[in-house]
């Protein structure tokens, strides 16, 4: 039998070095920071698990975590069904295909801080399109003073920015379904709902899992858009985990506590990612 040639592993070496410097070494440093009280690079004291104990009983973390889960749940509950509906409504042939693809890709190209700024202006109750329209209709809307309005605006902003990603993923999944399935459905005189329920949805399962995972991870780490739009307010209504962490690390320069917080945050994301990944590969294993 011909022996395996493992020389190709050398081609992967640059990636290992890149990951080591961009992820592993910083992660090790964060672990080191999380067990010390650091005043400056030469003045630091070992405190063991003290920061973890404090962080785990910190009501700020609990509140941010609850807000974060509610936010990610709302994002998924809105963007996934809406993305499917948009993908189902998109044309399958003709000029409409490239036009709709470009239109859908546009929000994805806008940088996060610009999205926040756009919605800061759109939402203003005096000059903003959305804010002044609502106030003109008699709805008392002000995202700067009302937590409910701030939440609605942050959610609408996320939906505007990211639903097209779900739609594009679903569209690619729909395009990969062979025509014979639809022909068989036509022969059986299946209704549109039956085609969706028994052909399209099962075929979209893997694509949807990727979409759910991407949107969960991204919404769970959201920082820039709500920071630019509301600054985390009113009060702490839209202060999510990453903003709480930034306040701790950069605002208060509390590096030890922030490092412990980061690791707990990382473990939550790691667990959820693993659950999604297992769900996906487990599904593949079963065929």
């Amino acid at each position: 039998m011909k022996p395996y040639n493992n020389k190709a592993w050398w081609l992967v070496l640059p990636v290992f070095v890149l990951v080591a410097f961009s992820a592993i070494i910083p992660m090790m440093t964060v672990v080191n920071y999380s067990v010390q009280d650091i005043f400056d690079p030469s003045t630091r004291y070992f405190v063991g698990t003290e920061w973890y104990r404090e962080i785990l009983s910190d009501p700020r973390l609990h509140d941010s975590l609850v807000r974060q889960f509610i936010y990610s749940f709302c994002v998924l509950a809105i963007e996934i069904p809406l993305g499917i509906i948009v993908a189902l409504s998109m044309p399958r042939r003709g000029l409409g295909v490239p036009v709709s693809l470009i239109l859908l890709a546009l929000p994805l190209l806008v940088p996060w801080n610009v999205v926040g700024t756009i919605w800061q202006i759109i939402g203003r109750e005096d000059i903003g399109l959305y804010g002044s329209l609502l106030n003109g209709l008699g709805v008392d809307y002000n995202y700067a003073s009302s937590p409910r309005d701030a939440w609605i605006t942050v959610l609408i902003m996320d939906v505007w920015h990211w639903t097209s990603l779900v739609a594009l993923l679903c569209y690619s999944g729909l395009r990969s379904i062979p025509d014979v399935y639809y022909q068989a459905a036509r022969i059986d005189r299946a209704s549109s709902w039956a085609v969706f329920r028994y052909i399209q949805l099962p075929k979209l399962k893997n694509v949807l899992l990727i979409a759910v995972m991407l949107r969960f991870m991204d919404s769970f780490m959201i920082y820039t858009e709500p920071f630019v739009l509301t600054g985390g307010g009113p009060g702490t209504a839209t202060t999510f985990l990453s903003q709480t962490l930034t306040q701790m690390a950069l605002g208060q320069f509390d590096l030890g506590r922030a490092a412990a917080f980061s690791l707990i945050y990382f473990l939550i994301i790691l667990l959820v990612t693993w659950v999604f990944y297992t769900a996906m590969t487990h599904n593949d294993d079963k065929g």
Partner: protein, 90 residues
């Protein structure tokens, strides 16, 4: 390396993790393992079981810190026993 703010406990932790990964690689080379189904609800490889064991250990330590006043070495011992059981029968 001083900018990484090393301490003896964290250095020991990473050395143990690195030794585990090297040990698992050698084990896999010497005696290749396969995906199988144990008491876990999913079929897993050795690497999967190590990862699951380490993840459970991390959460067990956090839960112990958050909810109990137990000394952490007890939790660590329980987690090591759990990890061995997971690798063997998981």
């Amino acid at each position: 390396m001083s900018w990484m703010a090393w301490t003896l406990p964290t250095a020991s932790f990473f050395v143990i993790i690195a030794l585990m990964l090297v040990g698992m690689s050698i084990w896999q080379t010497v005696s290749p393992g396969h995906q199988r189904k144990g008491f876990l609800p999913i079929s897993t490889t050795r690497g999967d079981r190590l990862f699951i064991g380490l993840l459970i250990a991390a959460y067990a330590h956090l839960l112990a810190l958050a909810l109990t006043g137990w000394p952490l070495w007890i939790v660590t011992l329980v987690c090591v026993a759990g990890l061995i059981a997971l690798l063997k029968w998981g």
